[in-house]
């Protein structure tokens, strides 16, 4: 049973991979062909690997944002909106500020983080002040971000004659590839570093401890004297800032301007990546890599095996569904579910009588 418990985190993946086999067959495709094409596309060449890591980068930032909110017990569905606002702020900063590259790039990332943080903070404040569910408000804020950005690039912020998008950022704001002829930039190691720092912050600092305590038990947090409302607001802001960094890395490394279609749903895939990682920042590196590879390989799969790339969205959805399953956990029964107080069920020998 202990062996099985160790496997539990991987069960959703195994289940989804098995299930998607049948989905491919139902779609009259050949699953072996589909997966080998997907694998080829994602890892078959240096370019393929680099592009997988490029996709991983944006996803990872957003997944870290979702994960940190989860750790505080907050379900941030709004990574997509926060990413869009962050990307827009980055693009505006990159096109207007003209600084040496050493300053320009950090300034643009900061603009992305601030934009995302502001968008997250709105939901956090609504929750702390009025008790509004962050699930609802972040979903609504996603729409506001997407449609608002659409409006801005079509009107006031339009910087291109040919399409509704902002002006291109200065060349000093563009990240250059760290592997020639690919789109992989320094944003990737930056994302990894962010994950490590975030893990350290969560597990070693007072602020991280407060977040984790709140996430495990709000009553314990109140008991411990943790300012619950302020932690909710700060965590949502931090969560949004991380998603905003994802948007910034997208603009500075890949698109170099903002248009409202620049995210293929990174913010939603990030929820699956964070769930699969059980909100552990280090594990999120690997789950983001998994989804990055899926997204990147999907195009090859469509081209070579004729399986629509939408299969990847199906897989993402299935992952979220299967993560919700309590693998090998105690069966939930309505009657007589052993309560936490029934000591006899614990793996502890009866206490020795004190002498």
């Amino acid at each position: 049973m202990t062996m099985l418990r160790r496997l539990a985190p991987f069960m959703p993946l195994l289940a989804v991979i098995a299930l998607s086999f049948f989905i491919v067959i139902a779609a009259k495709g050949n699953p072996i062909d589909a997966y080998s094409a997907l694998f080829q596309g994602a890892f078959g060449s240096l370019q393929g690997i680099a592009e997988t890591l490029t996709q991983t980068t944006v996803l990872l930032f957003a997944a870290l944002g979702v994960a940190i909110a989860f750790r505080a017990g907050l379900f941030n569905i709004g990574a997509e909106g926060q990413l869009i606002v962050g990307a827009l702020c980055t693009a505006v900063a990159g096109a207007s500020l003209h600084l040496p590259k050493m300053l320009e790039v950090p300034a643009c990332f900061a603009a992305g983080a601030i934009g995302g943080a502001f968008w997250g903070l709105i939901a956090g404040w609504l929750k702390a002040r009025f008790g509004a569910s962050e699930v609802i408000t972040t979903i609504m804020l996603n729409y506001i971000a997407y449609l608002g950005a659409n409006f801005l690039v079509a009107g006031p912020l339009r910087g291109s004659a040919s399409a509704p998008e902002t002006a291109q950022v200065w060349s000093t704001a563009m990240l250059s590839p760290i592997i020639p002829l690919t789109r992989l930039t320094a944003a990737f190691p930056f994302a990894i570093l962010t994950a490590i720092v975030l893990w350290w912050w969560l597990h070693r600092t007072v602020g991280g401890f407060e977040v984790r305590t709140l996430g495990r038990s709000e009553r314990a947090a109140r008991y411990a004297g943790i300012p619950v409302q302020s932690v909710i607001i700060r965590t949502m802001a931090l969560s949004g800032a991380l998603a905003g960094l994802g948007g910034a890395s997208d603009v500075l490394g890949l698109v170099h301007r903002f248009n409202a279609e620049l995210s293929p749903g990174y913010g939603f895939t990030a929820i699956a990546a964070a769930l699969l990682a059980q909100s552990n920042p280090i594990a999120a590196v690997f789950t983001s890599f998994f989804f990055g590879a899926l997204q990147n390989g999907a195009l090859s799969m469509q081209a070579l095996a004729g399986v629509p790339k939408d299969l990847v969205s199906v897989i993402t959805g299935l992952v979220i569904m299967f993560v919700a399953v309590n693998w090998f956990g105690k069966r939930v029964t309505l009657h007589g579910a052993p309560s936490a107080d029934s000591d006899d069920l614990r793996d502890e020998p009866a206490p020795e009588p004190a002498t």
Partner: protein, 505 residues
């Protein structure tokens, strides 16, 4: 043994293992119609496991269970119910927003042509309630009921099915003396109707009061089977623990000095709903003094304790600790000044069950045990180690989540954390609830040591024996007011009971 009638339920050699732990080891047990059979044992002795085997929640690894002479195998509780077994759990499972009748008939709703038939439901429940002389309105919502009434709803849920065998798991855990008397009346009525009652408890006084026979469990084994006539609290206590136990009531600690440590003046506190919880409470705790707060659950004790600790605002009044006014300080500042709170809800409030023991040392101390912005995990580990040593916690592993320990061990960690590091005034709320005798003894020892060191303890408890054995002075809470103050020597059951019932001294 008076073996006139064949037993309704008989177990032979029942065993259950969890990994390397033998929770139940070849247990033989039987209960006859019209008999109350108590099962006593410390936490972790295997009582709950055994009940879960009888009620089909768990299945035995070995041994047989017979009901009315027929061997049975329960795959789940529904099987056990069909065989005529009913169980009242220690923790109530009620839907707050539903009425009493809706809760009692949950899953077995009375219907007319597919629609709920509320009137019949109320009548059915009223009829069962009348049979047991419960004064309960079937149409009242459960959220409006007190603890005693909620237990009656749980009892009704079981009794409505008319089971021949009734299992009561620690039924008196949160009842006042009056409510316990009421429960015993019900148990006696069940007995006279020819039902078999299995009564699980670790309170020996109750065993002596209500049972016909007693089975004592220790470390998963039956270590004693007695008729009540042959039993005494002392005999049962030593069987449970495996050695002689000093009498429960230990002498009151040293006389306190005159130096006040905690001064509470005219404190007014509200409930979450904004209604008055306590009004103008004044108390003075001197150095080395233990003051007990007695009262029926839900008379403002929780709100008062939370206000003292800083989790709840005082509407008016003042709280002074060692000469410093802390009325408007947060709980972190109060902890820093030496105020501690042993929360009555260790599982959701005092501890974080998913954290390991060292991390739990940081709960409440996260801003006190730190180096700059980094939490001081080394100090937390050292503190957890020290508690494991001084409370003699067997098999302590720093990495194990708090969830994996027994309730008694969890309580030791909570108490240990709150008493460590310069505690001046400790609000100890039900500090030994659900804790076995050994653990309670070592908690009391630590209280004594703290007292000797000049700190004061405000002991809030629903267990009158505990208050009497520890407190120098007892105040009684009723409806948010202090209705009486007694020296411990004057505090007999009758006086306390009368005050707790709300009549002034």
């Amino acid at each position: 043994m008076s073996g006139e009638s064949a037993p309704l339920l008989r177990c032979h050699g029942v065993s259950k293992r969890f990994g390397s732990l033998v929770a139940n080891d070849r247990i033989d047990f039987d209960v006859r119609a019209g008999e109350v059979h108590a099962i006593v044992g410390e936490n972790g002795a295997g009582k709950s496991t055994f009940m879960n085997l009888l009620y089909g929640v768990l299945q035995p690894d070995a041994g047989t269970i017979e009901v009315r002479g027929t061997r049975v195998r329960f795959a789940n509780c529904a099987d056990a119910m069909r065989a005529g077994i009913g169980m009242v759990f220690q923790h109530y499972l009620l839907v707050e927003r539903f009425t009493v009748a809706e809760n009692v008939l949950l899953g077995r709703e009375r219907t007319v042509r597919g629609f709920l038939d509320r009137r019949t439901a109320s009548d059915v429940v009223r009829e069962v309630a009348a049979r047991y002389r419960f004064l309960i309105d079937p149409d009242a919502r459960v959220e409006s009921l007190g603890v005693g009434a909620r237990q009656q709803v749980e009892l009704l849920k079981v009794l409505e099915r008319d089971p021949q065998i009734v299992i009561l798991d620690e039924p008196t855990a949160s009842l006042s003396p009056l409510e316990i008397d009421g429960l015993f009346e019900v148990v006696r009525r069940m007995r006279s109707q020819g039902r078999a009652v299995i009564f699980i408890t670790h309170k020996l006084k109750e065993v002596m009061a209500i049972s016909d026979r007693v089975t004592v469990l220790r470390q998963g084994k039956v270590v004693g089977k007695l008729d009540r006539a042959d039993a005494s609290e002392a005999i049962l206590g030593s069987l449970m623990v495996g050695r002689d136990v000093p009498p429960q009531v230990t002498p009151v600690g040293p006389e306190p000095s005159s130096q006040p440590v905690l001064l509470v003046r005219d404190v007014v506190v509200q409930t979450d709903a904004g209604t008055p919880a306590v009004s103008e409470i004044s108390l003075e705790l001197k150095s080395g003094e233990v003051v007990g707060i007695a009262g029926v659950e839900g008379n403002g004790q929780v709100e008062f304790a939370e206000a003292l600790y800083g989790m709840r605002a005082c509407v008016s009044g003042s709280i002074v600790l060692d000469g410093a006014d802390v009325t408007h300080a947060g709980s972190v500042a109060r902890r820093h000044a030496g105020l501690r709170y042993i929360s009555p809800d260790r599982q959701r409030e005092g501890l974080v069950l998913d954290f390991d023991a060292p991390e739990n040392m940081l709960v409440g101390n996260e801003r006190l045990m730190r180096r700059g912005m980094v939490v001081d995990l080394a100090a937390a580990r050292a503190q957890a180690d020290a508690i494991a040593r001084s409370f003699r916690i067997p098999g302590y592993t720093p990495q194990a989540p708090m969830r994996s320990y027994s309730g008694g061990t969890q309580q030791k960690f909570l108490v240990g954390r709150e008493l460590e590091g310069g505690a001046r005034a400790v609000i100890a709320f039900a500090p030994t609830r659900g804790v076995d005798i050994g653990a309670a003894e070592s908690i009391y020892e630590h209280f004594k040591r703290l007292q000797a060191g000049g700190a004061c303890i405000l002991l809030v408890s629903y267990d009158l024996d505990e208050i009497r054995s520890l407190a120098n002075r007892i105040v009684v809470f009723s409806k948010g007011c202090i209705v009486g103050e007694l020296r411990t020597s004057q505090a007999d059951d009758a006086t306390l009971g009368r005050l707790m019932g709300g009549s002034a001294a």
